[in-house]
Each structure stands twice: as C-alpha cells, then as structure tokens.
Subunit: 346 residues, 2 copies
C-alpha cells in the first residue's frame, strides 16, 4: 500500500493530504452543463443601472480616452466600460462621522470598512478567460483605483479583492463581477504570511516569496509565465487544480505595477483562467488577491490565488483545519500547462 | 447606518462579521426538498455487506447482550447494529511493517493513520435527530472503541470523528454514517485551541472551556442542557445556526465519559440535531469532535461542533480566513431553543 503524502504550506502551518492513492484525472472533474438561468432583469446589465445604488466609479470613453466618473443619487451614467457600486448588503460599511475604530476587550468591534462590487463588463456573460486584454486592463485599473481610495481611510487596514464564479462558487448574480472588501483588521491568513515573510526579510535573506517563485518556475508545478508574471500550482495546495499567479518583480502591492506589468497581469488572468475554464468545462472557482496591508510591509509579495471548487470541504476540514486534495499539484500543473499550450498553438 | 459586528473567537485568532444589517430569519434558510436519490444498491444497507471491505468492528446482539466482532476476508457478519469499515478511498492509511512516521524538512511526510466509516444503523435513512437513544448509545460506543484502538498506535497523534450530512454536506452516500480519521500530526485548529487552553491552565486558573461553558449557560446564546451536557451557539460562530455541545464535567477526551454521560450525550445529539433538522427542514450539516490529542493534554475540554451548511464560503473567506455570518448567534440560539421546547412539549 502506497501511503498518501502529507504536505505543509510554504508559510502557513496548514497541512494537506495529497491523495496519490485516490488520484483522479481531470476528466473526473469536467463540469456538466448546469443550465444557469440568465436573469431577465439583471441589475448589472446596461440599461438597468437604476436597479443598483449609485456607482462609486465608472469608466467611460470619450474620444478614445478613458474618463472616470461617479453616479449621483438621482443620476446613473450609461455606456460604461467598468462600473463599481456599493454591495446592497455590505458586510463592512463606513463609520458615521467622528466614530473611530476600536477593538473592545480583544474580542469585538464594529465592522467598519467597505464592500463593493466591480461589474467587469457590460456583457452579462463575459468571463476573464475570454475577455479582451484591453477590457481586463480596465478591470484591473478599477481594482487599483478602489484599492487606493480605500487604503486612504484611517480605519482601513486591509483590502481584499476577490471573484466568485458561478452559483456554486458563491456568486448570487451571474453577470461578470468581482468584489472588494476593505476591513479594519488584518485577516488571519495574511497575518500568518506576513509573520513568515518578515522573518526571512529581517534575517537578511531575500523575500521568501521570491525564493518560492524561483523554485517553482523551474519545477514540476510550473504552469505558465510571461516577462512580468508567473503561474504555478502551489506545493501544498488545498484545492484540486489550485494555482497562484505572482508578479516576478518584488512588489508588496498591485499598486506598484507599471503599465507593462498591468498588461502582463491581464494576460496572466486571461490565459490561466481561460485554461481552467476550457480544461474543466467552466467550473466554479474563487480567486482572491493577497496584498500587503496598509502600512510598512515592503517584505510582502502580492499575488493572486485561484481556488477551483471541485471538492466539498466537510466535517474533517472544517473541524480540524487540515485538508484532503485528490489532485497532486504536479498533475494539476501538467494538465493546465498542456491545456494552455494547446490554446496558444491555436 | 448601523455597523455590523466583528467578533473574535474565544480562543482562535479567527474573526467573523456578524451581519446585523443583513440579518435573516430562519425561514430564509428552510430547505426545499431535494429529492435525494436513494441508492438501490446501497453498500451500507444490510444484505450488501460483501460490497464493502471487511468490518473492523461490528456490534451484534446475542441474548439481549451486545457482542463485538469483526469480519474476516471471506466472511461478513449479518444482523449488525453498528458496523465500522475501512474507507474505500482512505486519506490516511497504516504504515507497512517497520516504517516509522517522520516529517521531512518540516514540510512533508507520509500520511500514516486510519480512515474508517461508522455505519450508524441498518436503517438507510436513520438520522441522529430521530434515532432511538439506545441506537445512538451504540454509535457513541463504536466511536469510543475505534478511538481507543487508533490512539494506541505509535504513529497516531490525533483522531477526528465527524459526520457529513447530505450530498451538499459532503456525503457521497446517503446511508446514515459518520467517519473517523486518525492523523499522525495535530491539526492546526486543535493545536491553536491547545495553546490557548494550556496558557489558562498553567496560570493556575481553571479550564478556559469550563469558564466559557459557565458563561454561555447563563446567557443569550444558551440552547439546551441536561445534567451532563450543555449546548450553545458560540459567540463568534462562523456558520449560520452553528452550535457546540460540551460535557459539563471537565474531560479532555470522550473516553473519560461514564455511562450516564454517554446516555446524556446521546440525548444531546438527538435533541440538538433533531431541532436543527425540524427547524430548517433537514439541512445539510457537518459535525466534528474536538478532542485532546494523544498525550498529556488534561487541560483540554473535548466537545462537538455542529456546522450547518447554509452559506457558501467563497473568495473572501477562502483567501483571508475571515468569515461572514448572516445569523447572529443569539438569534440562532433563540430559534433552536424554541424549536426544542416545542418538541419537548409534544
């Protein structure tokens, strides 16, 4: 009997069983068509802008130039390219005037912050895996604009940019969108990554993530790279077909990207998410940015983690914080690499 | 605008947003009938014992007494009351002779251990919320027998007993069953609880869990108690309608239960899971035991955590380790308390 392998994350004290015995092939995960219902009156579709709160940011074109505007209470911009709106049911919301953030008895606080939706395209069914690069650049720029805006608020410590794809992925509306949540505390996974990366930095070594990237670029978990970005399946990934996208240059926040990097990042998202989509017939997934919190965290290295939703985390995972992954990351990387190459050859 | 509340767990560095603004009522969560298909050839049903590996433990009755047996390769016991079998696709499996457990470079190891299924009843549809107390006592005793067996192995550090209810809850077969996984490392959530409870104990205070129990028994999150056990909704629960069941006596492991406590625990499971089932029309859920690992952890206080699956953890939760719970634990406790009282009055 060949034992499965237990693996620990690069930085987190998180273990995963890589099931070599119960190993599955990509075909085991190919999605059946779910017949997702297209909402007739989608509040994110052009023409229905009045169904949402006023946009906090819209991108419009004027004489071929992008201009940035926002809606007002009685007015909604039309013909937008990208549109950011407050979430109707915000998990975090800004304080009233003169309220300050305070953690009481180390156990509770008011959930000050922001919760917004980024409508990625006027096209209902646009998927980043198929969108034009120019459109993805607009989406990324909108992320960056809102990120900058939120980070300037005194009660914001961390900004999470994430995407939920499909109903099983937690998306309550099917129109292409991502979300941004600004929180008044540093979330635990980020905090753990910070602690581990600070240690390495202070010991005079180089960034721990830079070392990981260098290693994974040249190994069996490598998926894809261009001049600016690299994608690989993480050593101890907890989801089947999980992959991470890193900027090659050491940057603690996506706000440090230059124009070439923004384009390179758009290309990375398009190719990696597109390969996941075509390999497994449009599976549900989540992605989340990991970025440095507000403050001096130059030792951190921002990146995006993509979590396909092909397994159910149940009693064992939820009660212990250990995971079981039935696709070895090396196999996932190989399948994604091959899918990507077949796309690039077309 | 009333801000939502951020709450930190009793012991873990885990924060949850309790959504008071987006607050929902229990009726929002009542399940629609899903038409779960009953498997014609259920391998866990009586008569199909040959479809599974040989049982590692079966409970039989003989002249009104319980006797314990196990199957052999060519032979399967019939007329069993409870039946424990190896999982066909084990995440953890025992080492070959002379192999010892070793963590290499602090990042990988062989996944030595056990992975078994406890078939809780010959009746396909038996749910602990409706089972006879006597049957639940057999199930608990089977858990304890296997727990004891696993804990004697030199490479076992922790034993996780858990239940996945319904397909959406991660159960691949609908016949009433739970699972037991024995692992060669202490899982991270347990490790964090151990560290926090050890600190309190060593400072000459009493058990931190005993203090939590005392407080919650007398507060707005209390759900139910008998002489031996108490159930409450945890202060910073991350799932809607989450509740925890604790023995009142300080015990680090369920192996310390006396006969009265075993009966009291069976009653707790029946009533609490039964109320969850009737309140929300049989929702999917997971439960997991939290018990002391193998070794000297007398400061730990074992308990069971029940996680109803009524929300999807998506990009935000998965990438940050922060959670959003749209049912305040106080409201969840009130609904469960009322449901339980209406059951007890019948």
């Amino acid at each position: 009997m060949i034992a499965n392998e237990l693996r620990k994350d690069y930085l987190l004290d998180r273990w995963v069983v890589i099931a070599t015995e119960r190993k599955r092939r990509p075909t085991d995960f190919v999605q059946r068509p779910t017949g997702e219902i297209r909402h007739k009156d989608c509040p994110f579709c052009p023409g229905n802008e009045h169904m949402t709160p006023p946009a906090t940011l819209v991108y419009l074109t004027e004489n071929g130039e992008i201009i940035k505007e926002k809606d007002s209470n009685g007015f909604r911009h039309k013909n937008w390219i990208v549109r950011c709106i407050p979430n109707l049911y915000p998990a975090f919301s800004p304080p009233n005037k003169h309220e300050t953030f305070e953690i009481k008895e180390n156990r509770h606080a008011k959930a000050f912050g922001y919760h917004e939706v980024v409508i990625e395209s006027p096209r209902h069914d646009e998927h980043p895996g198929k969108a034009r690069i120019s459109q993805l650049i607009h989406v990324i720029n909108a992320y960056l604009d809102r990120l900058k805006f939120f980070e300037e608020k005194p009660y914001v410590k961390y900004v999470s940019i994430f995407r939920n794809h499909k109903r099983e992925g937690g998306a309550s509306l099917s129109h292409a969108h991502s979300q941004i949540i600004a929180t008044p505390i540093i979330p635990r996974i980020i905090k753990e990554e910070l602690e581990a990366s600070r240690k390495g930095w202070e010991n005079g070594q180089k960034c721990v993530f830079c070392k990981i990237i260098e290693k994974e670029r040249n190994g069996p978990r490598f998926i894809w790279e261009n001049s600016e970005f690299v994608a690989f399946a993480p050593w101890a990934g907890v989801n089947p077909f999980e992959f991470w996208i890193f900027p090659k240059r050491h940057e603690s926040s996506p706000l440090e990207m230059n124009k070439d990097e923004i384009r390179g990042f758009a290309e990375a998202l398009r190719l990696c998410l597109g390969s996941l989509q075509s390999l497994l017939n449009d599976p549900p997934y989540n992605f989340g940015f990991h970025i440095a919190p507000v403050g001096d965290y130059k030792f951190y290295h921002w990146h995006v983690e993509v979590y396909p939703r092909l397994a159910i985390w149940a009693g064992f995972e939820k009660s212990t914080g250990m995971y079981i992954n039935v696709i070895p990351p090396e196999d996932a990387a190989k399948s994604l690499r091959e899918e990507m190459n077949s796309k690039l050859e077309k």
